[in-house]
Symmetry: C2
Subunit: 252 residues, 2 copies
């Protein structure tokens, strides 16, 4: 799939769901389920088996209910993903870092988001453009802006800086999550993969045609565990990111 999309249906209905302000039904039989239960089951499924395992049929099966029953609670799958994401945002621990130096505050913020994606790898794959404007996201946004407040940034710069930081963490998480998915899917460790490909690669990658690529590529491969190391890339990137913001924040 190209990235899973969100928010396909009626925006008002979705918003009402996010904020739990659905009008209670007046007629008909009692509802056997609650939206939060559906969201929890879908989240558990995604946590254990990945976003690809989340289908309406499988969620319904876990709930011992017919697939179509879910549609009385949720307009569609896209909205279900929105709800999962907002609920995850809501659960994010929000450490108070008031008074600490700004680098520490932003590092804590980045680490918290990284932890979120570590606990819920699927979250990095759900699109966050025009994100689910639910209580979870709003609380998260408010808390994160607090770490950027009082640093001499304009409102616009605060939003820009936060977007930049969150985008970096999400990209890192996506890379890590993709790497793990590839490993699982191909049932092949990085070492196995390189071993299988080494013979052909050595024929084709001669150091005359690609001098830098061969030199740097093998240096990077040797330093890390042969392929890409997400943890290392995260630490490197976060330092550059903070240095880059320093030029904005600590300006004379």
């Amino acid at each position: 799939m190209a990235s899973d999309r969100t928010s396909a249906g009626d925006p008002a209905r979705t918003l009402a769901l996010l904020w739990g302000s659905g009008p209670a039904p007046r007629h008909g039989p009692g509802r056997g389920l609650r939206v939060e239960v559906i969201v929890d089951v879908a989240t558990a499924l995604a946590d254990r088996e990945g976003l690809g395992a989340v289908s309406m049929r499988r969620v319904a099966q876990r709930l011992r209910v017919s697939p179509m029953t879910l549609y009385t609670y949720v307009p569609g799958k896209a909205e279900l993903l929105d709800l999962m994401l907002d609920a995850a945002y809501r659960r994010l621990p929000k450490e108070d870092t008031t008074g600490r130096p700004w680098r520490e505050r932003l590092t804590a913020l980045a680490d918290a988001n990284r932890a979120l994606y570590l606990a819920h790898p699927w979250a990095s794959a759900v699109s966050t453009l025009r994100p689910p404007l639910g209580p979870g996201l709003m609380a998260k946004y408010e808390h994160e802006l607090a770490a950027l407040n009082g640093l001499g940034l304009s409102d616009l710069e605060m939003d820009d800086a936060l977007t930049y930081l969150l985008s970096f963490v999400q990209a890192s998480a996506r890379a890590a999550s993709d790497a793990r998915a590839t490993r699982v899917e191909s049932a092949m460790s990085d070492e196995q993969w390189w071993a299988a490909n080494a013979p052909l690669l050595s024929q084709v990658l001669d150091a005359d045609t690609y001098p830098l690529a061969v030199r740097v590529g093998s240096a990077a491969g040797a330093a890390q565990g042969s392929a890409h190391d997400p943890e290392h890339a995260y630490r490197f990137g976060l330092q550059r990111l903070l240095d880059g913001l320093a030029a904005l924040i600590d300006r004379p």
Copy 2:
């Protein structure tokens, strides 16, 4: 969808395809197609209608051929995506920036990648972890390392810096591409969407509970075109990124 994955099948077969070193078949009827034609048709389809429109059936239809015929040329869809990506990398113009200041060189590099994702929005959605090690990628990698060479970075730092930069550009492109997809899919402009949601949002987002979020959010919304502005985020991010690398490159 979680991001489309790549490289599922036999690695050796995929590598041979990438480097065009398939052994010529000795028996049987002549082949009516060529891999490059399939790749071109699939790319054209993805360019015009998005990655979601690329199905084996639709590609085959464009080629006036049965879907299963494609499988004699390509092991599967994942490998087809790999080939599309490597071909796109190969077409990337590689401007010689030797002698120019490093900020200019890296900006040119980032802009070239951004242009790639602008021309081929689907490329940002195809996973690039354990990427297709074809001639296109290798030429790209070699060319991009050249822009980082001679700046006093270690081999590992060069790879780290490049990964950091490319990851930023890809994340920006993904955001832009997701935004456009959402707009198309919901058949709703940003203004329409905000207009539809404003009544409920104003009820729920009071400035007492979310003071910073409301203030900064509306400032950001007013400055940009009401929602997220990918172009603005790219320019902001690139400046921070270069400032961050400056702390590494221009160190005493």
